[in-house]
């Protein structure tokens, strides 16, 4: 992968207030940066939220993104992750007629399992590194998944 398209994960701690998410996404669109995925949730027992943004760009672009994010008034901190634990999750709906024990075994090796059983479908959950989620989604193709929902990343620096 060339430097100019290198994948980066940035975490942003922001004041949890109205329109703060628009400020962040407007900055990305206004300055021509990409957002590959985005995860937002309040930080427990604080007035802040944490955003995890997966983006891409050269070292210089990422440096600009970091600085521009920092310039926004409600932004407390920006982490450009170097050495992190990163996880995504995915929910997958399978027909109940598929081999459920195979599916469950596969899910288990990706930190997941079947989490819901209905009349016609089951829903499975996995949580792992983005690359591994890619692999998983590839591996389950043969079980005819009906619907796949993939989350954004969350990351913590080691």
């Amino acid at each position: 992968m060339s430097d100019s398209s290198a994948r980066r994960v940035v975490s942003v701690i922001v004041v949890n207030e109205a329109s703060v998410l628009s400020r962040i996404t407007d900055l990305f669109s206004g300055r021509g940066y990409n957002i590959t995925s985005l995860t937002v949730a309040p930080i427990p027992e604080s007035r802040y939220s944490r955003l995890t943004i997966v983006t891409s760009g050269s070292v210089r672009v990422i440096e600009q993104i970091t600085k521009q994010l920092h310039k926004l008034i409600p932004v407390l901190r920006v982490y450009e992750h170097e050495d992190m634990v990163e996880k995504e999750m995915a929910l997958i709906k399978f027909p109940i007629t598929e081999n459920l024990s195979d599916i469950n075994t596969l899910c288990e090796s990706y930190n997941g399992k079947i989490v819901n059983v209905g009349e016609n479908v089951v829903i499975a959950m996995v949580a792992d590194e983005p690359k591994r989620i890619d692999n998983f989604l590839c591996a389950i193709k043969r079980y005819n998944p009906k619907e796949i929902v993939r989350s954004g990343s969350v990351a913590l620096e080691r």
């Binding site: 922001v14 329109s19 400020r23 206004g30 310039k71 008034i73 409600p74």
Partner: protein
């Protein structure tokens, strides 16, 4: 104190020491205007267009070094003001712009004169607020003023729904600001400053690259001292005009697309750039890959995002210019001004080879002459604003600026229609100085309704219209890059500028000779009323030198040499 949201706005403005507000009333902001009517602590200047209110506040802010304030209503009132917000954002001008909004109960219903104002202003303000509870107003307004003037200054927009202005709540402006997420860094890193000073001392061809941040930081005195102590030549950006006196031996001139030959050559040949409050704008650098190829870069700026954005800084220094330059001065003994003698001579030679000049070789007056003439007659006694185009570049090139905050112009956004309302704000801030607006026959029509404001409020701005019957700068590009096809730039059809000024109660002059110009300017100053002086100038004059867009800074189109000036 239990008061209404509208009264809070007034109390906050008074507490902030605001003495002039520019604005235009309308439905959603009426509660606030009702309180303006009842008070006598500050002036309200009614412009005739919301865009003009914001530009006037910009002019006021620039000259007074205070936060400018504009007030407008919702919907079209706000959207008209957006150009002003964007202009102030690009040029880092501290403003607080207060807009009315439809009542909270109607937000989101496509109500009459409703628009998502904070949604629109988000990308062209330093920060913005939608006030949803009058109890938050004191804090929000206090934050707004603080954010506007601190760090890298900029416009802050406060949108207040009509029912919030009617709501009663507690007003206490004596609250401490608690902005945990906003703490501008003002003190430069001492070790980095020390290393930078040593790098300058080791250099052979150092160059100061002075930007508008110096003026925002009120640091011109310190910068002048640093330049003189070190004996290092300096170039100024368009936004920095007036940082050094025009006749300062160490001032090479303006740098960039229409910078002088010597300034652009110095920038191309320097071995260390000392950038102070400048942002390596594309109009300054030309082609980036060819820009100052052999130079080390010291970059001092209050805004970390400006450093290494376009040109990598070897010595990044985040801090307030005034503070950092003082620290540099304290260590200036490492630098020996004698070392740069040869470099200064080189620059003198550049200047002699291609001086910044023009030739009086036409029947009609040359626009540059008009600007030089005003400079000779008024010099330091005038504050100068401009619109956007050729006249703007000629003003930056030829007016003898002698102090910071003397020059007010739309640099970053390049807003035609900026000059006249800005000059009204300038005059309101500094009534003792003559307020001159150099403008063009294109630009002046973009806010000429402000004649009414100037007449009503007795703000005798003198507009000098350099009339070439063209949208001159675009015509120049058409001549140079589009085979002289004048697509929609011929402004042969024009109003009678004398009658236009007179229709509003101002005075108008049309001049074609030097004598007429002198007489008109003298008369306009004496009459002390808003004036249009229309000067018929050479139609096809080009702004030279010129670095074509995307070209290298050292590769300039130059004025063709002729015998006499």
């Amino acid at each position: 104190m239990q008061i209404s949201g509208a009264q809070m706005v007034i109390e906050a403005l008074i507490a902030e020491g605001v003495d002039t507000v520019f604005g235009y009333p309308g439905g959603a902001i009426m509660n606030v205007y009702d309180e303006i009517y009842k008070q006598d602590k500050f002036h309200h200047i009614l412009t005739r267009h919301e865009q003009a209110a914001v530009h006037a506040a910009e002019g006021y802010a620039k000259v007074s070094a205070k936060v400018g304030v504009a007030m407008i209503t919702s919907g079209p009132g706000f959207t008209n003001a957006v150009t002003g917000l964007a202009d102030a954002y690009m040029d880092s001008i501290p403003l607080v712009v207060i807009s009315g909004q439809v009542p909270m109960t109607l937000i989101g219903t496509d109500a009459f004169q409703e628009i998502d104002a904070v949604g629109i202003s988000r990308s062209c303000t330093k920060h913005n607020y939608l006030v949803t509870d009058a109890a938050d107003l004191p804090r929000i307004l206090k934050e707004a003023f603080y954010i506007a003037r601190s760090g890298r200054p900029g416009p802050v927009h406060v949108d207040i729904p009509k029912d919030v202005t009617a709501q009663i709540a507690t007003f206490d402006y004596d609250i401490a600001l608690d902005l945990e997420t906003y703490k501008p860094h003002t003190k430069g890193n001492p070790r980095q400053i020390k290393k930078a000073m040593q790098a300058i001392a080791d250099a052979k061809r150092p160059l100061f690259y002075l930007g508008g941040g110096i003026i925002n930081a009120n640091a011109a005195d310190e910068v002048r001292e640093l330049v003189h102590t070190t004996g290092i030549p300096a170039v100024e950006t368009f936004m920095a005009r007036g940082t050094l006196e025009h006749n300062d031996a160490l001032l090479i001139g303006m740098v960039g697309m229409h910078g002088s030959y010597a300034a652009n050559m110095a920038m191309s040949e320097t071995d260390i750039i000392i950038a102070l409050g400048a942002r390596f704008d594309d109009r300054v650098t030309g082609k980036l890959s060819e820009f100052a190829k052999n130079a080390t870069v010291i970059h001092v700026d209050i805004d970390p995002a400006s450093i290494s954005k376009l040109v990598n800084a070897n010595f990044p220094i985040v801090g307030d210019i005034k503070s950092v330059v003082k620290d540099m001065l304290a260590q200036s003994s490492v630098i020996d001004a004698q070392n740069y003698e040869q470099w200064r001579e080189t620059i003198v030679n550049f200047n002699e080879l291609h001086p910044l000049t023009y030739y009086e070789d036409s029947e009609r007056l040359k626009p540059q002459w008009v600007i030089e003439r005003v400079g000779a007659l008024l010099g330091d006694n005038a504050n100068i604003s401009t619109d956007v185009g050729q006249h703007q570049m000629w003003t930056a090139q030829f007016y003898p600026f002698s102090r910071p905050r003397q020059f007010v112009s739309s640099g970053g956004l390049g807003t035609m229609g900026f000059g006249f309302p800005a000059a009204i704000g300038v005059k309101a801030a500094a009534p003792e100085k003559t307020s001159i607006n150099f403008t063009g026959d294109g630009s002046i029509l973009m806010n000429c309704q402000e004649l009414m404001t100037a007449v009503e409020k007795k703000l005798p701005v003198i507009n000098i219209i350099l009339n070439n019957n063209f949208l001159g700068m675009v015509r120049q590009w058409q001549t140079l890059f589009y085979d002289d096809r004048h697509a929609e730039t011929d402004l042969s059809v024009q109003p009678d500028f004398i009658k236009l000024a007179e229709a509003f109660g101002g005075v108008g002059y049309r001049v074609t000779t030097k004598e007429e110009f002198d007489a008109a300017l003298e008369d306009a100053i004496k009459k002390d009323v808003v004036a249009f002086i229309e000067v018929k100038v050479e139609r096809f004059e080009n702004v030279m030198p010129m670095v074509p867009s995307g070209g290298s800074l050292f590769n300039m189109m130059l004025l063709e040499k002729k015998e006499s000036k």
